[in-house]
């Protein structure tokens, strides 16, 4: 589903590469946690996957799309196949919860009728059905993040990338968000989650990839990771 082959990204030649010859393979329906300290290269990795940045060298293939052959004008099509959840939610402040989720469908030309059919179902998955009419600022951080997840999955992407979705949340809300991610993974979506939170890493029995100084320091199933 995701394949990186010796990918290097250098922002500034004087500072050395942010990512140094990273190779990573993620199977369909896998749930992968990416850990690492700030500046280790996690965000760069995700930006390469969403094509916000281009690799300096190396090959990236996501969902069958070879990024070397991807033209600029086809980037929107790629992004429609990947759901992304950000640490700072990136919700539109002047739209309701319903409208924020509907927005993802509007931009791809889904009919209004279908939107009214789909959005409530997705809000149900993230347990926000009763808050459809609220504005984002009336919600708690955890609720906002679940709106963002609803928006990311409403187009039924094959891959969901969650960039520190729990970074701004207290533990209780963080677990609400993680629970939703697990549920989505159970439905068949590949999930790539980055986090700082050791507690989450320990409790989720999942594959863990550790990035250190731009390279993969370890990549193992959670049991091994915990045993270390």
């Amino acid at each position: 589903m995701i394949l990186l082959d010796r990918v290097t990204k250098t922002y500034n030649k004087n500072l050395g590469p942010a990512l140094d010859r990273i190779s990573l393979h993620v199977e369909p329906k896998e749930f992968v946690i990416v850990v690492g300290q700030s500046g280790a290269g996690k965000s760069t990795l995700l930006k390469l996957l969403t094509r916000e940045e281009r690799p300096t060298s190396g090959k990236i293939i996501v969902g069958g799309i070879d990024y070397d052959k991807l033209k600029d004008r086809d980037i929107p099509l790629l992004r429609r196949k990947i759901g992304v959840v950000f640490q700072d939610f990136k919700l539109l402040p002047n739209r309701t919860v319903f409208e924020n989720v509907a927005f993802a469908l509007e931009i791809v030309g889904v009919s209004t009728r279908e939107i009214h059919n789909t959005v409530p179902k997705v809000l149900d998955i993230v347990n926000l059905k009763d808050k459809a009419g609220r504005m984002p600022q009336e919600l708690s951080g955890g609720e906002r993040q679940r709106v963002a997840i609803a928006r990311a999955i409403v187009r039924q992407p094959k891959i969901l990338i969650a960039d520190e979705p729990t970074g701004n949340l207290d533990p209780k809300h963080a677990w609400d968000v993680i629970a939703v991610l697990e549920k989505i993974n159970k439905y068949g979506t590949t999930v790539l989650l980055t986090t700082h939170n050791q507690d989450i890493v320990n409790k989720l029995k999942r594959r863990v990839v550790t990035i250190k100084h731009g390279t993969i320091a370890s990549d193992r199933a959670n049991a091994e990771y915990n045993a270390k």
């Binding site: 916000e52 980037i75 990136k90």
Partner: protein
């Protein structure tokens, strides 16, 4: 197809909503656009009026050649043919003695004494050849051609021509040309100013909504889905400004026709301007609309370019 229509409808709707939300910015942008379009329209009408004045004066210029009574019809026809063959001649009309008399009677229909004086005697009027030059500058050539002895011997009186008005006409043409140039410069200056202001307006609107644009980008909105509403918004400026400028000039003519018609403006024949404006009403409205839409669309497309790169500009 259906999907595209839905998307198109959404773009147009968003553009209209944005127009209403940014009403004050829109009014500023439209004010300058109205000034630009009005100046352009005004200079088009003034230009047409001047051209008409010059054409009217030029049309009145001709050279008249008077033939002796002894010249036969054949000789006269021959002369007409020779003159018609000249490249500097636009048109030649031949009036026989009888036709010249009829024309004279018509010209002086109000003057009984003159008419009586003419009918009492034999027809005193000579047969006349009227020569219209291609343009003013060719009068000299025609004059020297008919001064040749073999043509001069056919003439009863020296040829008369209206070449003396030439100096006046030159002045008019000169003034018109200067006015045209000033008009072009003014139009260009205002067009540039209006593009810049619309450009700025759209950039401000984008700046206010850059977060939204970034989110749209990250969710996979296509370039035209993001850009469309801005283009729609500025096309609305163009359409409204074009209509406003037409109405403005229209209102100007309404006031002018009541208060200024009586006074003479010399070269500026206001009644002609008005009839030109009225007879070309739809064409003028159409080209104003096209121009307004073009200025609006072009400036918004350029203004949005910077924000539509796939890497968002860093704040």
């Amino acid at each position: 197809m259906r999907r595209k229509l839905t998307t198109f409808a959404r773009i147009v709707r968003t553009g209209m909503v944005n127009f209403v939300r940014n009403l004050w910015l829109a009014i500023a942008a439209m004010a300058i656009m109205i000034v630009t379009l009005t100046i352009i329209l005004f200079s088009v009408v003034v230009n047409a009026t001047f051209s008409n004045t010059v054409a009217q004066i030029t049309d009145k210029i001709d050279v008249s050649l008077y033939l002796k009574d002894s010249v036969s019809d054949g000789q006269a026809q021959n002369l007409v043919k020779q003159l018609q063959a000249l490249p500097s001649v636009k048109q030649v009309t031949f009036l026989s003695k009888a036709q010249a008399l009829t024309a004279y009677e018509q010209q002086n229909a109000g003057n009984q004494q003159l008419l009586q004086a003419i009918t009492e005697t034999d027809n005193p009027l000579p047969a006349t050849v009227r020569i219209k030059p291609v343009d003013l500058n060719h009068i000299g050539q025609i004059r020297s051609y008919i001064a040749q002895p073999k043509i001069a011997q056919l003439q009863s009186d020296p040829a008369s021509d209206s070449g003396d008005r030439r100096a006046a006409i030159d002045k008019i043409t000169h003034a018109t040309n200067i006015l045209r140039r000033v008009g072009v410069v003014a139009v260009l200056v205002f067009a540039i100013i209006s593009v810049l202001i619309i450009f700025n307006t759209i950039q401000m609107a984008i700046f206010n909504r850059r977060d939204e644009l970034q989110i749209m980008r990250l969710l996979g909105a296509s370039t035209w889905y993001i850009r469309g509403p801005f283009v729609v918004e500025s096309v609305i400026y163009g359409v409204l400004s074009a209509v406003a400028s037409i109405l403005l000039i229209n209102a100007m003519f309404i006031t002018a026709s009541s208060s200024l018609q009586a006074t003479s403006f010399g070269l500026l024949d206001i009644s002609y301007s008005q009839s030109f404006f009225e007879s070309h009403y739809w064409m003028l409205l159409g080209s104003q609309l096209a121009l307004g839409v073009f200025i609006g669309a072009a400036s918004s497309v350029i203004a949005t370019r910077r924000y539509l790169k796939f890497k968002m500009p860093r704040k």
